[in-house]
């Protein structure tokens, strides 16, 4: 049964940066682009498990820090290897607070 969980204040996610969220054994990356839009993805690159929250963000793309795979944060799709996809999580902001639906 999914439910919305309060994560943190939106200000705690750096612009063009990311934070790692741990929920039991689940690791989710929360990313914020330059327009202050946020995205939530499983925090592992489908290529070799690179930690995506350490990647560089440009537009709606995060580049994996290990071998430079570009992941589209909106769709979770690895741009050059479209077969591979990162799990996305529902995320929302209300009154400047970030919530995850898990």
């Amino acid at each position: 049964m999914k439910s919305w969980i309060k994560v943190t204040s939106l200000d705690n996610i750096p612009t063009m940066g990311a934070r790692k969220v741990l929920i039991d054994d689940l690791e989710i990356g929360i990313f914020k682009n330059s327009k202050k839009e946020i995205f939530a993805l499983e925090n592992r690159c489908p290529h070799k498990d690179g930690v995506l929250t350490e990647g560089m963000i440009h537009g709606n793309t995060v580049t994996c820090p290990l071998h430079n795979w570009d992941i589209d944060m909106e769709t979770g799709i690895a741009k050059d290897e479209e077969a591979d996809c990162v799990t996305r999580y529902e995320i929302k902001v209300e009154d400047n607070i970030v919530y995850l639906n898990i």
Partner: protein, 812 residues
């Protein structure tokens, strides 16, 4: 008043002569060219690629209409010249129009020789010589019928390959037992045949065409052994006949072809002949390299430039079939006076045969591995005494030694070795072309130097030269911009930043019309670096989000997402107290692995990101700063024990290393930067594979530059010798600053020096006192605000708060 130069023929020899002529003078002649075909000059050697559709006609065009226009050369296409009137000095076309000449160049080439057999005048019996032939072949071949190619020479095989590539059953008929019997011995011929059979070509050897049957066009072909083949096309490639009629008709001497002297002049001093239609010293020529050699001499003669005259050429051949590497030159069959060296591996498909007469190489066949072709050809052409090389000769140039430096074959080639056999272009000429004209792409190199512009088989070599000349700049950039976001090169970006003011990378992207306003992982760190080096840390805020992970979090990311932490150990010299402090930190954070690095540091591996900040704090408290083992910046200064302990040491390497590290730490550079100091030429600190290598001698210090110990080892170049420590420091500052300002982002000193040349660095830093002072001062200025420990700074500024994971619990 210009003289009138008319050219009969619009092919490769004609145009090469005109290009050469224009390089000497564009004042002497008013030039008109008459071509039978409706096209501008195209690359006939590429016809096989046109046939296989691996290239388009556009790819094969050598001189565009624009070229003719710009050079004021008048081109008459579809204009067949039928007569020369030497008394009136005019030529006539088939409509009897007259054109007057002062000088005339006959470059009529040749026509395919189609033997008169029964049925050889039927439709669909074709040659393989022109664009029109290719179009006709492509329009005729069909899935349901076989195609027959007659003649197993170079062109015949290329034609058969081009047809078979379309999935057509192709039968190649050759009258002797081995294909390419003019260039290959039986072993190589068989290897090639086997390979071509896998590409879909069937062979019938020791046979010829008896007759061709059909009403209007080909329906079947009967071979001399009685076999009947259903086919709808026969392509003859059984040799060429020089087009000499126009010359013989006007009374010029001809034999097999039009007879010319060493200056390509016929017996009429105003009429020249060149290429396949001419005969020199009893020989005719069908390959492009000799034709281009002739063009050079003919052009000089026309331009009244002194020339030694043509002395004939050694024919060498490369087969232009994708995936088949084949080269042959000289006398390829052994006779009584010669001997042969042979290497054969049928399974791998490699065959090398060298024919030797006395102490000289006289013949070459290379199949499957043609890497050393130009080296062998050079030995052959220059008649080099090979007696000393003999035992290793067959194994190629790399086997001669000096391979410990990790050089690849192109680097091992000397500058006077030929890269492009067709055009006679040496490696040195390609490099010079690249440097003088700032060439960046294969296309530009082809257009400017002609290397790779004819048969194209050397393009891979040309590319290697380009890569080794440009270094990272070539590898990292697409032919256009430095990444997909832009069309600007590193140089253009740097030049633009030099003259404009910017506050951040995004303003640069906007001004230079990036397709993507936020750039990408390639361009953003590069532009961030260029801004930083222009403004220094006090006037430009080094943008955290424009740095890749290691540079951003001041640690090296590992494959599992943990980090490594390397504190600075000045000059690689430590003590028991510091080691104890580090051990305490390692205990406290349960560091799983501690490793000595190549740069004389201790690397603590497997650190969780959230442990970085507290660990840094503990290390700071114990007196350490960041070792910047992650940085595109000064990493380490490695030392030997020097004269403090060593009985051979001539200088205090440890203390000087510490002093250099205290002076240079914190500096951002285009790529990582390593220094080493050895106290004597035994060089225990391995200084000659560092960016700067300092080696102590009795009278002072030697300064070496641009070494690299990575993937491809590069030994430093010796720069200069200085007497005092102060001079040494001054030179190091100047060198680092020159590199910081001049090199492209992610270009190591080794690649930079390979690109710009060590003399460029010497001219600025060694020979020019004012420039050296200027750069050293620039370095001092940049260091004023750079020597801030990023560990302490990022803890104090609160940046490391984002290193903490957000830990949640699921709702019950």
């Amino acid at each position: 008043m210009k003289e009138k130069l008319l050219v009969i023929g619009n092919g490769m020899s004609a145009l090469r002569t005109i290009e050469e002529l224009l390089s000497h003078t564009d004042k002497k002649y008013e030039i008109s060219i008459f071509g039978e075909e409706p096209h501008v000059n195209y690359n006939r050697i590429m016809l096989s690629y046109l046939l296989s559709r691996e290239k388009t006609f556009g790819d094969t065009i050598l001189n565009t209409q624009e070229w003719y226009d710009n050079n004021e050369v008048t081109l008459h296409t579809d204009n067949k010249i039928s007569q020369i009137n030497r008394d009136k000095k005019v030529i006539l076309n088939s409509n009897n129009e007259e054109f007057a000449y002062d000088k005339l160049l006959i470059a009529t080439g040749s026509v395919p020789f189609i033997p008169t057999t029964f049925g050889s005048s039927l439709n669909n019996v074709l040659g393989f010589r022109t664009k029109e032939d290719v179009d006709n072949i492509l329009n005729t071949i069909s899935d349901e019928k076989k195609a027959v190619v007659v003649g197993g020479g170079l062109l015949g095989l290329e034609a058969a390959y081009g047809i078979a590539k379309h999935g057509i059953k192709t039968l190649l008929i050759h009258r002797s037992a081995n294909i390419m019997s003019q260039q290959l011995d039986a072993t190589a011929g068989k290897l090639l045949q086997k390979k071509l059979e896998t590409l879909g070509i069937e062979f019938r050897l020791n046979t010829t065409v008896d007759k061709i049957d059909g009403d209007n066009s080909v329906e079947s072909v009967t071979l001399s052994d009685g076999e009947v083949v259903d086919a709808n096309i026969v392509v003859f490639s059984t040799g060429i006949s020089p087009n000499k009629t126009i010359a013989s008709d006007c009374g010029l001497s001809t034999n097999k072809a039009i007879i010319v002297n060493d200056y390509l002049q016929t017996e009429d001093e105003n009429i020249f002949a060149i290429g396949e239609c001419c005969e020199h010293d009893g020989k005719t020529f069908g390959l492009v390299a000799p034709l281009f050699e002739q063009a050079k001499i003919c052009a000089k003669k026309l331009a009244d430039v002194e020339t030694e005259g043509y002395v004939g050429s050694i024919n060498s051949t490369r087969l232009k079939i994708s995936g088949v590497d084949l080269f042959s030159a000289g006398q390829y069959i052994c006779d009584e006076d010669s001997e042969e060296l042979i290497l054969l591996d049928e399974k791998v498909g490699i065959y090398k045969k060298l024919v030797i007469k006395g102490d000289y190489l006289v013949g070459i066949i290379l199949y499957g591995d043609t890497l050393d072709a130009s080296w062998y050809l050079k030995l052959l052409k220059e008649k080099t005494d090979i007696s000393d090389l003999r035992v290793k000769l067959l194994f190629g140039k790399a086997s001669l030694g000096d391979s410990g430096h990790g050089e690849d074959s192109i680097e091992a080639m000397s500058d006077d070795e030929e890269i492009c056999g067709c055009n006679g272009i040496t490696k040195g000429a390609v490099i010079e072309g690249i440097k003088c004209n700032n060439l960046k792409t294969i296309g530009e190199v082809k257009a400017c130097t002609k290397a790779g512009a004819s048969c194209g088989s050397c393009v891979a070599l040309v590319e290697q030269v380009l890569v080794s000349t440009l270094g990272d700049e070539y590898q990292d950039v697409t032919p256009e911009g430095i990444c997909d976001c832009c069309t600007s090169t590193h140089k253009e970006i740097k030049d633009n930043i030099a003259v404009n003011d910017y506050e951040n990378v995004y303003e640069v992207f906007k001004n230079l019309k990036w397709s993507n306003e936020e750039g990408c992982r390639l361009c953003r760190p590069a532009v961030n670096y260029y801004l930083l080096v222009k403004y220094n840390d006090d006037k430009y805020k080094n943008d955290l989000r424009s740095r890749l992970v290691n540079d951003r979090v001041y640690a090296n990311i590992q494959k599992d997402g943990t980090y490594s932490v390397v504190p600075r150990i000045w000059g690689g010299v430590t003590n028991a107290k510091d080691l104890r402090a580090m051990a305490d930190v390692a205990d406290k954070y349960n560091v799983p692995t501690i490793k000595f690095t190549g740069g004389q540091r201790l690397d603590m591996l497997g650190i969780k990101k959230e442990d970085l900040a507290p660990m840094w704090k503990d290390l700071n408290d114990a007196g350490f700063v960041s070792g910047q083992a992650y940085a595109k910046g000064l990493r380490t200064v490695k030392t030997c024990v020097g004269n403090t302990w060593c009985r051979f040491g001539t200088q205090d390497a440890m203390q000087i290393g510490i002093d250099i590290e205290k002076m240079t730490w914190g500096s951002w550079t285009p790529h990582k930067f390593k220094i080493a100091v050895s106290a004597c030429p035994r060089n225990c600190a391995e200084a000659t594979i560092k960016d700067i290598g300092v080696i102590g001698v009795d009278s002072g210090w030697e300064i070496h530059f641009a070494g690299n110990g990575g993937l491809k080892v590069r030994v430093t170049d010796f720069l200069t010798k200085v007497k005092t420590d102060e001079e040494l420091f001054h030179y190091i500052k100047a060198l680092m600053q020159f590199y910081r300002e001049d090199a492209y982002y992610l270009e190591r000193t080794a690649h930079w020096v390979e690109r710009v040349g060590i003399d460029y660095v010497k001219d600025a830093i060694v020979k020019d006192d004012a420039k050296r002072d200027f750069y050293a001062k620039g370095f001092d200025e940049s260091q004023k605000h750079a020597q801030i420990d990023p560990w302490k700074d990022s803890v104090d500024s609160g940046f490391t708060q984002e290193f903490e994971p957000i830990v949640l619990e699921r709702m019950a």
